[in-house]
Structure formats: structure tokens, C-alpha cells
Amino acid sequence: MANNGAKISFKNGLQNQMRDFLKECMKKGIFDAVVLPVRVPANDSYAWILMNDISIVDQANPIPPVMPVQGAKALKSLTRKGDGILKIATIMKPCEIRATIELAKLSQVNLENITLISYDCPGAIPMSIYNNLSDDMEIFYNDVVSENNFVSEKMKEVCGFCVDFSDVPDDLHFGFTGLENEVYIIPNTGKGNSVLEKLEMKSSENLSQWKKNVADIKKIKSKNRIDIYKQVQPTVDGLDNLQKTYEKCIGCHNCQSACPICYCRQCFFDSTASEQSANTLIDIAEKRGGIGFPRDKIMFQVGRMSHMSLSCVSCGQCMDACPVNIPVAKIFSFVSSKTQNTFEYRAGFSGDEPIPLKVYKDDELSKIHEIVKNAESDGSEHE
């Protein structure tokens, strides 16, 4: 992350300031269009809107209280089928930016003409709460933003232990942690720099105080994270515990639909390949004294983990989508932290770092062996 940024003071709130910034960019032709969240007419959710008319920008809310659709999915729809010629900017939460970077590595998003903007994220409110109390929640969230409250308990659980709420490889970053009526606009890439240059803004302010503020919050969240992981570990340790955890899964695959990284056209678990004939099932039932439906609850979850955990950005969408309240996101986050550590990889942190599937390191096999060995000895301790 850059060491310097431009500082702006504002009177009418941060979100206003961000909208003004975008409008100014559009006026100067720096961006032809922007993609921003707008509250839907029924008032109970937000939708991503692509707008090239400056006058609509005021209807957008750059820091929305919820995340109904992961921003990376919106950008994928916009750019997968080829690179448009319009220069587009978008403001997204850090986890949305990271998912976007992951998808770009998998050729699902084209970032050539896209400028990614993010901010110090206070978190998002679970959809289930927002749905019914949306007006109250709007007021509450506005307070959270203006009061700079980064550890509110009302947020999604993953937000509570998100240590990367500010650290994100965006082109431009709005940093305001611990600041009052002030925000730093921080250019992190060449793209970001050129935006500021065109606006004739000097990024000469030292960021050390802000960085310290961020680090303080990070400390609290790190501690939360350790606590949560400690809670999660026994619930997924071994097949029996996994079985217990996923017992109530109804096989709706909502978690898969909500996941920004799960991008396959046809999921293996929805395909005929995983279907079995009645005879086979009866055979298995005979052997085990009965089998449950839907089938493959654990297979599906573990399969998704093995496919996706290296790219998981812990955005929590899967958990928000789960109708039976399985803590999918906490489990994913825990497992991902382990797999990503193994391959010395952090999903979405750098566009230049190839995904582990594409690279082979001589020592990775022995490392995995070590992890398995450790896991086995951990397991015996639990017993």
C-alpha cells in the first residue's frame, strides 16, 4: 500500500464526498461510467447499477449497509464477454475487490478498462436483519460510518473478524479509519495515480497516523479471528464432526450460487455424474442400514472447499444465503486460512501472484505431508 495520499475535508458526510469525487471524474472524462450500489425501490435491498449519466450518481450509496450480490459477480457479468471500450470505475467493499482480483486471474473478469475503488469497510449487515428493518438499519449504518465504528456487533459474523477490511489491492482507496470529517484518497496503482493527476490532486499527505489507526482495529479483529477459529476447529475435525455440522443442510446449494468465486457453468454436484441408480443406493442402504437424502451433503461441502478454498476471500455471502443457518462462511474462512497458508498464497491480494493451481513448488508435497501429520496428531489430542 502506498505511503502517501491526498487529503480531503468534508462537511456533508463521507458518502456525499465519494459521490462528488466520482462526478468530478466523470465530468473530466476520466471515467465514462460507474458501477455503484443503489437502494431498490422497495427499499429492502441494494442492486448494482451501471450508470453513465452523472445525474443518477446521487441516487447511489457508495458504502451500502448490505451486500446482497457480491460486487465481483456484477463486474463479471459486465466484462466476461470481452473488453468494452468505456472506462468504468466502481466502488466496492474490500472483499468484493479481492474476489474480483481472483476472478481476473481465472479470466472471468477483464480489468483492463476498470478502475477499482475501495474504502475502509465497517462491515455489512446480514440480509436477514436488513430485510425487515431496512429504514432503521440505514440510520444505524450511517451512524456506524460517520462514527467510524469498525467493530459493531450487528454486522455479519465474518465482518467481525475480518482483518483485511482496509488492506486491499484497489487502484484508489478511501481511508478514513479514526479520522473526523476527513478522508485520504490513496492511489495504490499506476491507474490510481493517473486519476489523481488528472484531477490535479497531490498525494503528498503522510499516511502513518491513519495506518496506525487501521492497525489498532486490526488487532481487535485478529483476536476475534483467533477465537472464532478455535470455535470452528472442533466442529469440522473429522468426518463425524463434519456430519454433525452439516446435518441440517437441505442441499439447496444457495451457498454455491451466492459465492463470487464459484463460477463454473455447471457444478459437478448438480450434474448427472453424481447421480446414482436406485439399485446402487439400495445396496448402500443395505450395508449401512439406511441412507439419508439429500445425498452428498458432506461431499458437496468438502468438494466446494477443495475447489474454492484457495480463492476464498471470506466475504460471508455463503452464510448469508444459508436458509438453515449453518455457519458456512466461518468454516470456509478457517479452512481457507489453512490451505492458503500451505501454498503461501493470499487470495485476491495481488494480481501478479498466480493461483496455486498453476504453479508447482518442489517442497509443496512435503509441506502438505507435514500438515496432514500435524492434523492427525491434533486430532488425537482432541480424543
Binding site: Y263, C264, R265, K287, K358
Partner: protein, 561 residues
């Protein structure tokens, strides 16, 4: 159509028969009989014997089997045997499955009941799997016998000469404006090699006059696409890059050769500080052109130092030929005048060929001094060294000749990207297997020879050229078609998301990207069926024709039942 699956259990004499109940196995597999499936369970004393093979061949026909499972030894022993029997009996060999009940059951499970049970499970798995196997067919494709040789040095010339004939044309391209490479500068080859300079000249004349060899000087490779038997190549003029030639060939030989490293880059030589420090190649050139080796003043040197292994420690490899050619150069001086005092400084003498030691003895006899050293520093005309006896010495010489390491020709890296051969840690082209396949690369039909692969002398370079010629002559026979691997990967269009992960993990360059559809595709002529792409595909869009998920799934389910 009803499936008729033959399940042949080989007793392997007592090896299998005494370790399990074969009849129980035969009885048990009948449980697969159904409306759609008929099992034909048969045991035989020794299926791999002459009688056994004949019996199986006839029985497949007689029983009109649609599928075959053979439960016997390791597929490593006899998979090919039984596949060939299938072919003879007109059963597609990919509708057959071999189950190992000897090494994996009979020899490792002492309990007869348990062994029987395990064998039944394995065979059940095979019966289940074989039903999901599909017919695969060998696909014969036309092959062009012609060859492109890149590099007109001695390796390239030898490659062209040993390959070209009426039925096989060779295109030889050379970046510079003349053939012969470094070797044209040598006044003499090593004494043991008998021949003198006209050996090279004769080779050049021979290649120039061969009507089956087309030579393009000042030409380089722009692009190469394709696979063994069918490469499409674009060549271009070095000076005028728009001047292009397109050709089709069946194989390519990379013979781009070497250059001497710049001795100024090594810490123990201050090369340019004196005009009288020369590289070995400069001496060769001088001797070739002038017939004499003289100081820049024009007078003859009275004392000469030859310093071996300059830069070896930095490069971390031995250049293999320097000890030999330094002795040759020592003899040049002695030939010029017996009075010239010649001293060779070396750390280890590398004399790996059977006649090298004789050259060393002869050179010694010729009055050349050999000094084994631990360390050496060349400062202008002065040499400071520590002898093997630990003593530090300092001596001035009229002339100093150094032997810098051989390094890959400039442009090697660029070519490696065009032709897609990786480079090794030293920058030479990387062979596919150092010990057993030193001339092959990961791409079938692309070969490396001579010093492009690593330091070596003329003789070994030429042998390498002939080795590649031996391979090409036996793989690309004029008028004959080639049969690529049958068990390849295939990409299911409907599933592919175009993330290109597979492109990066394929070792054989067998996957390309279809820009119009935005999906990856397999070039079946290049695919060897290794399965890397399948394992890496995040969307499960790739499958192996003979190892589909379904085949494996069904086999495993049956075994685990």
C-alpha cells in the same frame, strides 16, 4: 444391446490358485447378471502362456463378448499382451480392463478367505468400470518427413547431412552470412581427431552442394506451430523482417551452438588491462588468419601462460573441452618455435575421452610445463598464483591466453520462447531427460543437439546430430503415417469457462485457446494423456477419455460396497 462381459481369472499356476478360492470368485461375479448384463466367468491355468493366449483369443470370438475383464498379475507385466489379444479378436482393446489379483492380493494377503473377498471386490470394481469404458480408436495421421535445422555450425551441418536424401528434404537456416559456426576459426582439430581444417571446409562444401538441403543464410525462426510430423514454420530474413518464408516440416533440430563468455566478467581476470591477454578463440583466429601467433607489437612472444578454467567457479559448470584445446594451443606455440616457453595453469585436468591422456603426455613431452594451482589472479601481463603446494608466486609473461567457459549463444533465450523449450539453470536448452533422452525436448519432434544443449566437443556434437537423425529416421518414415496417443484429454465445451488454467499446466503445449468461443481446446496429436489439466481444471470441464470420473467413480463405489 445386452452386454456380455467375459471375466477371465488366471490361476497363474499356484501363485493365485493356492491363495484364494477361484470357484467362489467365479460364482460371486455372477451377481452382476441382469436384464442388460451377462457375465461369462471362466478360469484358466495360465493366461499368458501360448495356449492361454490362444484360448482367450478364440473364446472372445466364440462367446461374442462385448467387454473383457482379466484378473491376473500386474498390468505392468501383461496389459499389452491382453490388449493385443483383444485386437486380434476384434474386440476394441479399450473395452477391456485388467485387474491385479496377484501382486495386490495373492502375494500380500496370507488369509485365504480375506484374499478371496478382496479379489472379488477388485474384480467387481473392474466389471463395473468396464461397462463405462468406451471404444477408442487409433487415429492415423499423415506426416511430413522433412526437417528444419536451426543453426549452420558443425552440429547443424551434420544433422542436415545425415538426414537429407531423395525422400527427406532438409531446410537449414543460419543467422549469420556463412556456415560453419565457431569451428571455421580452428586452425586444427585435436590431434586425436586426425582431420585438419579442411575437414570442416569439406563438410561445408558437402552441405552446400547437396540438392536435398535448402540453405537460408541470414535467416531466423519467427514462429513454429504444430506437432511431430506436422509443423508450420515461418522464417524471416534477419535484416529485413518482412521478408518471410513459410514452410511445412515434420521435425525441428535446434543447433544454435555456443559462444565464449566474456572473460572481463570474471573476478580473477583483468582481461582488458593488457593488450596481450587473449581468449583461446582469438588465438585460433589469429593462427588461422596469419599462420602465426604474434604479440600486438608484431614480435613473437617468448613466454606464454595458458590459464585454464577461468570463470568455471562463477558459471558452476566445466566446459569439458578447454583442457584439450589449451593443449592444442600449447602445441601451436611449440610448432611455431621450440624456443617459446609455454606454461599451463590448471586446477583439475578434465580428460574424459580415452585418447585425451595421450595428448596430455605428448604435450608434456613437447616441453610444455603444467602447473597445478589453487588460485590465480591475472593482472595485466602478470600472473599471481597459489600453487598446489600452498606457495604464492608471481610471474610476468609476454602473452596470456585464457579459456573462458562456453556459454549459450546470444539469442538462445529468445529462441526458447519462440520454440517453447525451457532453458536449464545455466541458460542452455533443457533436455527432457539428461541420462536417457539427452536430445529430446518436451515437444515430440523438436530436438536439441550440440553445444546448444551444453558444452561439448565437435565429435560429441556430431554424434548428437546423428543420434537425432537416428530418431527422426525411425519416427518419421517417408510415406508412413503416425499414430498419436489414443488415451487423451478432452474438453467439454459446455463446461469450460475459459479460465486458461489448463494452458499453463500442460507440459506438452497440447492445449490452445479458442478466442472466438472463449474456451480451451485439446490438440489430440500433442496430448499424452498425463491428466495435469484434468486435475487443475476448476470447472471439471476436462476429462480423460480412458479415466473419466464416471469410470473411476463406478469402480470405487463397487469396491467400497
Amino acid at each position: 444391446m445386452k452386454k456380455k462381459i467375459g471375466v477371465y481369472v488366471c490361476e497363474c499356476g499356484p501363485n493365485i490358485a493356492s491363495k484364494m478360492h477361484i470357484d467362489k470368485i467365479l460364482e460371486s461375479v455372477k451377481s452382476h447378471n441382469s436384464e442388460d448384463v451377462e457375465i461369462v466367468p471362466i478360469k484358466h491355468k495360465l493366461l499368458c502362456s501360448v495356449q492361454g493366449k490362444k484360448f482367450l483369443e478364440e473364446d472372445i470370438k466364440k462367446q461374442e463378448l462385448t467387454h473383457l475383464v482379466v484378473a491376473a498379475c500386474s498390468p505392468r507385466e501383461h496389459n499389452t499382451t491382453f490388449m493385443n489379444i483383444c485386437k486380434k479378436s476384434d474386440l476394441n482393446p479399450y473395452l477391456y480392463k485388467m485387474i491385479n489379483i496377484r501382486e495386490q492380493v495373492a502375494w500380500v494377503i496370507p488369509d485365504k478367505e480375506k484374499a478371496t473377498e478382496k479379489a472379488i471386490q477388485y474384480i467387481n470394481g473392474g466389471i463395473s468400470r468396464v461397462q463405462y469404458q468406451g471404444e477408442l480408436f487409433e487415429n492415423k495421421i499423415d506426416a511430413i518427413p522433412d526437417v528444419l535445422v536451426i543453426g549452420g555450425g558443425i552440429s547443424g551441418i551434420e544433422s542436415a547431412l545425415s538426414l537429407a536424401n531423395e525422400k527427406r528434404k532438409v531446410v537449414l537456416i543460419e543467422k549469420t552470412d556463412k556456415l560453419g559456426g565457431n569451428s571455421v576459426f580452428y586452425k586444427k582439430l585435436l590431434p586425436r581427431q586426425g582431420a585438419e581444417k579442411d575437414f570442416i571446409a569439406k563438410k561445408i562444401a558437402e552441405v552446400t552442394n547437396n540438392k536435398n538441403i535448402k540453405i537460408h543464410l541470414e535467416t531466423e525462426l519467427e514462429e513454429i506451430l504444430g506437432f511431430l510430423g506436422n509443423f508450420e514454420v515461418t522464417l524471416r530474413n534477419v535484416n529485413n523482417k518482412d521478408n518471410k518464408i513459410e514452410i511445412k516440416i515434420g521435425a525441428t533440430i535446434v543447433a544454435t551452438g555456443f559462444q565464449l563468455s566474456n572473460p572481463t566478467s570474471f573476478k580473477n581476470v583483468k582481461y582488458k588491462e593488457s593488450d596481450e591477454v587473449y581468449t583461446s578463440l582469438e588465438i585460433e583466429k589469429m593462427f588461422s588468419e596469419k599462420g602465426k601467433i604474434l604479440l600486438s607489437s608484431g614480435s613473437e612472444p617468448k613466454t606464454v601462460a595458458l590459464v585454464h578454467c577461468v570463470g568455471k567457479d562463477e558459471k558452476k559448470y566445466c566446459s569439458q573441452i578447454c583442457c584439450n584445446y589449451m593443449m592444442k594451443i600449447a602445441n601451436y606455440f611449440k610448432e611455431q618455435s621450440k624456443e617459446i616457453k609455454v606454461k599451463e595453469f590448471y586446477k583439475d585436468l578434465c580428460l574424459p575421452n580415452k585418447d585425451d591422456e595421450k595428448l596430455f603426455r605428448d604435450t608434456e613431452k613437447n616441453g610444455v610445463d603444467f602447473v597445478r594451482i589453487k588460485d590465480i589472479d591475472i593482472q595485466g601481463n602478470e600472473i599471481k598464483y597459489t600453487g598446489i603446494n600452498g606457495k604464492n608466486e608471481k610471474t610476468k609473461f609476454d602473452m596470456i591466453v585464457v579459456a573462458p567457459p562456453i556459454e549459450p549463444k546470444a539469442g538462445t533465450k529468445n529462441l526458447s520462447q519462440i520454440i517453447d523449450i525451457p532453458l536449464d539453470e545455466f541458460g542452455f536448452f533443457q533436455e527432457v531427460h539428461q541420462t536417457t533422452n539427452p536430445t529430446g525436448t518436451a515437444t515430440d519432434g523438436v530436438f536439441i543437439v550440440g553445444t546448444a544443449q551444453g558444452p561439448k566437443g565437435i565429435s560429441n556434437s556430431m554424434l548428437m546430430s546423428q543420434a537425432v537423425s537416428g530418431k527422426i529416421k525411425t519416427q518419421l518414415i517417408p510415406g508412413e503415417k503416425i499414430i498419436p496417443e489414443v488415451k487423451t484429454s478432452e474438453i467439454l465445451e459446455a463446461y469450460c469457462m475459459g479460465c486458461k488454467t489448463c494452458l499453463e499446466v500442460c507440459c506438452f503445449g497440447a492445449i490452445y485457446f479458442d478466442e472466438i468461443k472463449g474456451i480451451s481446446r485439446v490438440n489430440e496429436a500433442l496430448c499424452r494423456g498425463c491428466g495435469n489439466c484434468i486435475a487443475s481444471c476448476p470447472s471439471e470441464a476436462i476429462r480423460h477419455k480412458h479415466f473419466t470420473s464416471e469410470q473411476l467413480f463406478q469402480e470405487v463405489i463397487e469396491i467400497l460396497k
